[in-house]
Amino acid sequence: MSAYIARRVLYALPILLGVNVITFFLFFVVNSPDDMARLHLGNKHVTAQAVENWKAERGYDKPLLWNAEQHGVQRVTDTIFYRNTVKLFLFKFGQSDSGRDIAFDISQRMVPSLVVTLPVFVLELLLTITLALSIALLRGTYFDTWAVIVCVAMMSISLLFYIIGGQFLMGKLLRLVPISGFDGGSAVVKFIALPVLVSVVAGLGFGTRWYRTLFLEEIQRDYVRTARAKGLSERGVLFKHVLRNALIPILTGVVVILPTLFIGNLIIEAFFGIPGLGSYTIEAIQSQDFAIVRAMVFLGSLLYIAGLILTDISYTLADPRVRLT
């Protein structure tokens, strides 16, 4: 398995490089280094010299990809792309364009993101699987029909509606929890209650319907009929056999997102004032801070690749017949 993992890690390098190239192009198609400088320096009284100074200090005065004025390998290395990309692969995120240390900020913001995403992940997983199994248990009844209708309806509603509705209902109308904000220590409970509830409810429709489909497919299989023939109760069949055998598709969807929990949810964090990495990324995009955008895209890709490798490993744990070679 170690050879397999090593190979996957090596595969990851060109993927990360590709992601970097795409991010770089997308960003610099929209923003030139001049635009970035002017945005950071403000609109009033900015001179051309000030713009040049700002770019020079951050290395944005270099050509983007090819430096024709240099010789040899420096034609590639003395460019904005090379100077920024190589550092990322060494996990040196450097300074943001506004002068903050990115690694420090990431370390500070990771925890608030996790405080929200982790309970959402656990609760949503438990609830959707439980509900999906219950619906599978009652398949063909009115409960099944209505559950599917409700799930489709819930899937069709935008997350923004859940957020605004949740804030209106729980924060404004019932006045049970703060409408937004964040705090440390035990006070964190009252701040994350609403974003967690909203996130779980918003994901319930899709998750339940997806797992219901998986379980119904499993229920058609021969081993289920055998189990029933042996006299096992329906609950026993579902929870002991169907659930176990449906683990592979469940793991496919679940394990891959585990590492990405660190980078938070962009919209939820923005609306609820959670000082996590999701809102960090949104702010960086809004303020055209390429250094942060580049670092966060790199981190996101890295964690996603890690999630894919973990998913493969989890298959071997769920099903001993699977071998990673």
């Binding site: 929209v30 923003n31 030139s32 635009d35 002017r38 945005l39 320096l41 403000g42 009033k44 009284h45 900015v46 001179t47 051309a48 000030a50 100074n53 200090e57 300074q95 506004s98 002068g99 903050r100 240390d101 690694a103 420090f104 500070q108 608030p112 439980t130 509900l131 219950s134 009652l138 009844t141 009115y142 409960f143 804030q167 924060g171 404004k172 109308l173 019932l174 006045r175 049970l176 929890v177 703060p178 409408i179 937004s180 904000g181 964040f182 705090d183 035990s186 006070a187 409970v189 009252k190 209650a193 329906e234 923005a270 609306f271 609820f272 004032g273 000082p275 809102s279 960090y280 702010e283």
Partner: protein, 721 residues
């Protein structure tokens, strides 16, 4: 193993959550603040965007000034109550008056013509005994050595916030600190936004920047600016310093009220320049050091920023005089009492409008801006069109505070454009006719909820030179009817257009409607509606307006390069002087040629000559005469559709006192009061939790599960068929 039914599990969770929230005693469940803060003189506000710079040399935005204004103290400040705005001493003993010298060094009288003045000297004498806030940069051992000026990278790495430095110190404010900051304007790595502008005025500042750039190279370590001789700012004695500027520029005194000229101690620069400091985000941009009434004790702009009373602040009396009506309005209630009145100010990050507005309604923010989405909930218009609070706001005791901003929002013509620009009669008449057709009164009503005053020229109300009433109307667009300015008729506009050679809006060269191009920034659905409205205004004259929507960067680039034909633009005053608006039309400030702030690239010889004379004059009849002439010139030439001067609307809760708006001063927190007991009582009253709907939801859930459970049981018991 038996699982609890989901409904029971949900009930248990809800009860646990309710218990944890209810554990806060009398505190409302939805209170976002800590129970221990209840009843304290705390100001609660919000900010939407993280301040980028708190270093006074680079901070320029409004959202930064709400913090830096309370921390740093320039030598002068704006009087809190008096109008028109006037400067009063802050750390200086008196307002600095310039002394003028000719090229041979002989002193000139104060009214000397600007062309004779080769140098103006501002001498400032400081009050004694002013102390900096406690800060580790000042901490010294008994032998005088600094605790934290020779730290290693490893020692810095063990600290996360300034509070982790156990020792702190302070020292008296001296003239050196002001001179040091003026030198910092030239520092190549600090990127002061006014470095270029000030380089034109302060003697030797540009040369100092060159010397620093050469001396420093790529090294970002501590540059001890005290070692650099500098003619532009000199220390005379411990409490006196001089600033030398190279021309007669009376508006320079207003710059002295801005944070760019606030004192910075060399110890702070030395402290923050140590290895490892930047990696831990210990910078002056993040942890300011000032002498003002407040100091920043928590800087987590991802969540909140906290200002606390500076224990070393000397105290300052609340003004005992104000503008007419201030005494009746209760603004002099605290006259003579020592400021500040508020102990702590919490500013929470609030990126979205809905939570911010809801928290204001719940009493968790003391003040709120009137946002577009909540405008109708807060404001209604009376019989005479005056803005007033809705009954629900009045029931809460909310106060509405309005003021015309020292700003202008206009639609500009690019004067370098061959169709709409230039000095030809044809183009001038075309611009004048469009100026009549674009109905800014309607725009203010539809798109700004009435928050604006139609502009008749570049100068807004409350600025010297502005004329109200009949003598102040723009006769090319308005006429005086029944005691008020009325926009001229479309027939007048069509007649002008005909005279320009565009009868019925048609281009004689093609016979087709004249096509004009408006550059715009994409702005969502409401922005699209406004763009359609612009198109319809031009259609009134038969003109075809093509809207070119682009992103912010491209839009800026087009205006900068002079390739935009028509565009909307605005200006917020740096200081309350007509020069700060009229310079927007001064030829040598043209944006495309000189990179200045004249976005229309307007140029008129007579205007430029008058501008140079007006700039150097004190407010008085002669200056007014020149301004009147200048305004007449630009009204006739019409390089802008004058647009409107925006109005600031703010809502304050009943417990928030001394809320008179002062749109020039940034250090207003020290004047404010909070009745914390009233706030706590009303917060409790407004935020009693409602629990019965939850019980109904639970019953519905249980009710829906029972039949399902029954059908499951029935299926289990059924015999095989």
């Amino acid at each position: 193993m038996r699982f609890l039914p989901p409904t029971v599990l949900a009930t248990v969770c809800l009860v646990m959550l309710a218990a944890s929230i209810a554990g806060c005693g009398e505190q409302p469940w939805n209170d976002p603040y800590r129970a221990a803060d209840a009843g304290r003189a705390i100001f609660y506000g919000a900010f939407a965007e993280r301040p980028k710079h708190l270093d006074p040399v680079s901070s320029y935005s409004e959202n930064e000034a709400q913090f830096t204004g309370q921390i740093y103290e320039p030598v002068v400040q704006y009087h809190f109550l008096k109008r028109p705005y006037q400067l009063v001493p802050l750390t200086a003993t008196a307002l600095p008056e310039p002394r003028y010298y000719d090229k041979d060094g002989f002193e000139l009288p104060a009214d000397a013509p600007a062309e004779n003045v080769a140098q103006a000297v501002y001498r400032v004498t400081l009050k004694r005994g002013i102390l900096f806030q406690p800060h580790p940069a000042f901490a010294q051992r008994s032998d005088g050595r600094y605790y934290y000026h020779h730290l290693t990278r490893e020692e810095v790495a063990t600290r996360a916030t300034l509070a982790d430095f156990t020792h702190s110190g302070s020292r008296e404010l001296t003239a050196d600190d002001y001179v040091y900051e003026i030198k910092r304007l030239a520092h190549p790595h600090l990127h002061s936004p006014v470095a270029g502008l000030m380089g034109k005025y302060i003697k030797g500042l540009t040369a100092l920047a060159e010397r620093l750039r050469a001396a420093e190279g790529g090294n970002h370590g501590f540059v001890d600016l005290r070692k650099y001789d500098f003619d532009g700012a000199r220390v005379i004695d411990r409490y006196t310093f001089e600033i030398r500027i190279t021309e007669k520029y009376p508006q320079f005194r207003y710059w002295l009220a801005m944070s760019f000229f606030a004192p910075v101690p060399w110890e702070a620069d030395s402290f923050y320049a140590q290895p490892g400091m930047k990696e831990r985000n210990f910078t002056l941009d993040w942890y300011p050091v000032g002498t003002g009434p407040y100091m920043l004790t928590e800087n987590n702009p991802n969540r909140r920023m906290v200002l606390e009373r500076n224990p070393n602040f000397r105290g300052e009396p609340y003004p005992d005089r104000g503008a007419p009506g201030d005494a009746v309005a209760g603004m002099l209630r605290m006259a003579g009492k020592t400021m500040p009145f508020i102990d702590v100010a919490y500013y929470s990050l609030e990126k979205e409008e809905i939570p911010q507005w809801t928290k204001f309604l719940q009493g968790y923010y003391d003040v709120a801006a009137v946002l577009p989405d909540s405008f109708d909930q807060a404001i209604q218009f009376g019989m005479k069109g005056e803005a007033e609070l809705t009954p629900s706001m009045q029931d809460k005791g909310v106060k509405l505070v309005t003021a015309v901003e020292q700003a202008t929002s206009y639609m500009g013509f690019n004067m370098a454009d061959p169709v709409v620009g230039g000095d030809s009669e044809r183009a001038r008449l075309l611009r004048q006719s469009i100026a009549i057709a674009v109905d800014f009164e309607e725009l203010i009503s539809i798109f700004a909820n009435g928050r604006g005053v139609p502009a008749h020229g570049p100068i807004p109300p409350e600025i010297f030179g502005y004329r109200a009433g009949q003598s102040g109307i723009n006769p090319y667009v308005y006429e005086w009817r029944s005691g008020h300015a009325a926009r001229r008729s479309l027939d007048d506009a069509r007649a002008l257009l005909r005279e320009a050679g565009y009868a019925d809006g048609r281009d004689p060269a093609t016979g087709q409607p004249l096509t004009l191009y408006y550059e715009a920034i994409s702005g969502g659905p409401s922005g699209k509606a406004q763009l359609n409205w612009y198109r319809k205004q031009f259609e009134k004259l038969g003109l075809q307006l093509v809207i070119r929507v682009t992103d912010y960067n491209r839009f800026q680039e087009k205006v900068r390069e002079g390739t935009a034909q028509i565009f909307s633009w605005g200006w917020n005053a740096d200081y309350p002087d007509p020069e700060n608006f009229l310079f927007l039309l001064y030829g040598p400030n043209g944006k495309s040629k000189y990179g200045g702030e004249n976005a229309s690239n307007y140029h008129n010889e007579e205007f430029d000559q008058l501008y140079v004379r007006m700039r150097a004059l004190p407010n008085g009849a002669e200056r007014q005469r020149l301004i009147d002439r200048m305004v007449e010139i630009v009204r006739r030439d019409s390089p802008w559709l004058w647009g409107f001067h925006p109005m600031a609307y703010a809502l304050n809760h009943a417990w928030y006192g001394n809320s008179k708006p002062n749109l020039m001063a940034r250090n207003t927190l020290k004047y404010k009061t909070v009745d914390a007991d009233l706030r706590a009582r009303l917060q409790r009253e407004w935020n009693r939790p409602l629990l019965w709907p939850l019980a109904i939801v639970l019953l519905v859930l249980i009710g829906s599960v029972i039949p399902a459970w029954r059908s499951y049981r029935a299926r289990q018991r059924a015999t095989a068929r």
